[in-house]
Symmetry: C2
Subunit: 459 residues, 2 copies
């Protein structure tokens, strides 16, 4: 008999079916045993009565949470007062005739049956293969999958071709120090810090490209915002007619992801206590200096010497956008050239500032990008000015040697946008198996007899 998903059981009232899943919680009432069976589609109440099957009762009496079972039995409509509106299967229950144990679980280290897990982060992560099964954790990654899908939909609308770029490189992507080194057949190589250079090369091939790939940051710090391995989501588009065309594409991608995912999964966002985002037709755009002026007017703080927005500023300008433009988004442009990466295009009208942009959402930056320098000589000068050795970027510079169209793009971190949309406290909650300075699956301090760990820990 073919398995029926729990959510579909109301279609089978008074029929015999087979369901399969994990034992979620068990409640005994004397000889009467109830348990919730959990599958990908939700929960189903199983009722086990000795008068129906002595054998099933015996198996049920020994079931523990997370045991995997196959249950054969009769779907019965529940009396109206016992209907559970929270479950898709809430109008029915299954009266068990036969229970087969498919896999036995050890006793759980903590209760998994409640609506939330209430675990400290290290415990949550030490038991990641178990805690990911809890609905409150699992749902984070349903949202993450939806973000990736909506990103691809937006990229296709823009006419982008998907590319697959390498993650092992000969030079550190942006000349930074915090790179992981790989022993590459006896040669020195690095894990990429971003797909930036390759996606730029690829606009000379496809004009518009998108990529989802891993990037690596060996930052020697443990904060709530840093991961050593992240999933980068990038777009790059060439032959742009204007800076505004880049901003239009950038805002379209950022806002359509947030809008579409929030709408499709409104139930999950409601469970997380998150308000529907305000997505206006036209996102307000400000230069950094204009944004700072507004913040000064609102708070009295003098920002005229600041080269960037600090977290407090980002929250303030987002409040302004919400109050004045009914928008949870605001685009800030023209950051100082020297604060951005070497490939950023200086504004021809005032080269001290650059044709760069950040998209802020509910108080923090979620996407970032710029128009890029597309002239070979100008690019080499910019690299040298930042102490980046052009010799390590031969393949990148080759693209510019043979003609490179005006182009720009933007980028965001999948874990970061997941964290922001669900308002999670720590980015580790938005990574299935987070890597940081102290952990690769298990904590190093647990794995190694001698930790020798004298590394800095930031709060």
């Amino acid at each position: 008999m073919k398995r029926v998903l729990t959510a579909d059981t109301p279609l089978h009232v008074d029929q015999e079916v087979v369901v399969k899943g994990f034992v979620h919680v068990r409640r005994d009432h004397g000889k009467l045993i109830f348990f919730d069976l959990r599958d990908a589609a939700g929960l189903l109440q199983i009722v086990v009565v000795p008068s129906v099957s002595e054998e099933a009762s015996k198996v049920a009496s020994e079931l523990r949470p997370e045991d995997v079972v196959e249950v054969h039995g009769l779907i019965k409509a529940r009396p109206e007062k016992l209907v559970n509106p929270k479950l898709k299967s809430g109008t029915v229950e299954l009266s068990a005739k036969k229970i087969t144990l498919l896999s036995k679980a050890e006793t759980l280290p903590f209760d998994m049956g409640g609506a939330s897990l209430n675990l400290e982060l290290p415990t949550l992560l030490d038991h990641r293969s178990l805690t990911l099964r809890h609905e409150s954790v699992r749902n984070i990654f349903l949202i993450q999958a939806a973000i990736a899908e909506e990103f691809r939909n937006a990229a296709k609308t823009l006419g982008c071709t998907e590319i697959f770029v390498p993650t092992i490189a000969a030079g550190a992507t942006e000349g930074g120090a915090d790179v992981f080194k790989v022993d590459y057949y006896g040669h020195e190589a690095f894990m990429i810090q971003s797909p930036q250079l390759y996606k730029q090369i690829m606009v000379s091939v496809f004009e518009r490209v998108f990529v989802i790939t891993k990037a690596y940051r060996a930052e020697p710090s443990v904060t709530t915002r840093h991961l050593s391995e992240v999933t980068m989501i990038d777009i790059e588009i060439a032959f742009i007619d204007s800076f505004e065309e880049l901003l239009d594409a950038f805002e379209f991608v950022g806002s359509s992801i947030v809008k579409n995912v929030s709408e499709k999964y409104s139930g999950i966002f409601k469970n997380f206590g998150i308000e529907k985002p305000l997505v206006p037709t036209k996102i307000p755009r400000l230069t950094l200096r204009a944004a700072q002026k507004i913040i000064t007017e609102r708070t009295g703080r003098d920002l005229s010497k600041e080269m960037d927005l600090n977290p407090e500023d980002e929250r303030e300008i987002c409040l302004w956008a919400r109050e004045n433009h009914k928008s949870d988004f605001v685009t800030v442009t023209h950051y100082p050239t020297k604060k951005r990466a070497f490939y950023t295009y200086p504004d021809p009208e005032n080269p001290e500032y650059s044709l760069s942009y950040d998209l802020l959402f509910k108080g923090t930056e979620i996407l970032s990008g710029s128009r890029r320098i597309n002239d070979y000589d100008q690019l080499v000068v910019a690299m040298k000015a930042r102490g980046v050795d052009p010799k390590n970027f031969g393949m990148y510079l080759q693209a510019f040697k043979y003609g490179m169209p005006p182009e720009g793009g933007f980028s965001f971190g999948l874990e970061r946008i997941t964290m922001k949309m669900l308002e999670l406290a720590n980015i580790r909650e938005a990574s299935l198996f987070p890597r940081d300075m102290e952990r690769v699956d298990e904590r190093f301090s647990k794995r190694e007899e001698k930790t020798g760990n004298d590394q800095k820990r930031e709060k």
Copy 2:
């Protein structure tokens, strides 16, 4: 004025437009200059006549292949005898009024204007940022993007959720020796050899998952079939009712990718000289032993002591499938247990053979998979029997400790399937920027003054 793509120019006859792109080839006829402009959509013939614009003629006379230009001019219908049916814009040409040079290219190291490139592989790869622009190379990666998309479509049809798994691990995935080591904050870590263990964990969360991610193989050899960094495409499904359910899913994914990509891009396959694949409604299924018996009958070769199919056998059994089942596919199951990875499920009826399967296409394996051991104790025994230390796989085993449903899956390499579908001679042609023992973008021998390269080179 907004840019018009070359393919859309026939909609603008007798109108002034702006086109942008790369100079493809230039042909001078005295004062009359023709050049083909190349953009993402194709080619357009540009005619530059001094009587229309002296200035444009002057700019055009200095244009070189791969220069990036913006051309303003009038779209004119071509006389019928000059129509070029090979181009989407073949019914028109553009008479240039103004040409703006957007980016200047150096003199090319070889001719890029022909239908094919005719370069040796090292030259093709040394100039990868340039050679990728050639239509014959570019099209390989249009097919690659389409394979990824059709894979995702098939995975969604099967009800899979997309997951993003780590690539840095604490243990070598399958216990192999050929792993890249990473200096991870002073700890030893490895780049994953496959997403296998994480996708298995994740079926206890989502039941059905898919993943596209990087995997790394530090094999100390240079062959036409090996890359050090590959893109793995994986599916894993749980709560299977039978082994046949796995085979159905596996064949559905493999054959629908090949079928749909071949149909959508039939023009590209035709240019590569590739016949339309034979995709039957029902792919023939054989156990390894049955396949060997057929090969023996056809060739007289005794395979009764062979534990696997060698390349010659794979070609032979595919010929048999083509002749007898009008199929370019054949599924081979039940490989010897000891020839497959430790997590492979032995056939309960004959544990010497396993519930494993390969999908062969036109003479070689393109997808591979198995049902997995889902019992904790059995898994630990299997690991130890292969010399894999369970201590290094704590997070993986945790999933099995707390109940794991019956499950299985399959996997393939994006570069490998691209290579097979386009019948490329070398897998490097199917990777944008291939990594191997001798190359990360540039060849190590070119990058380093002293190569010290005494590593084995296979032909």
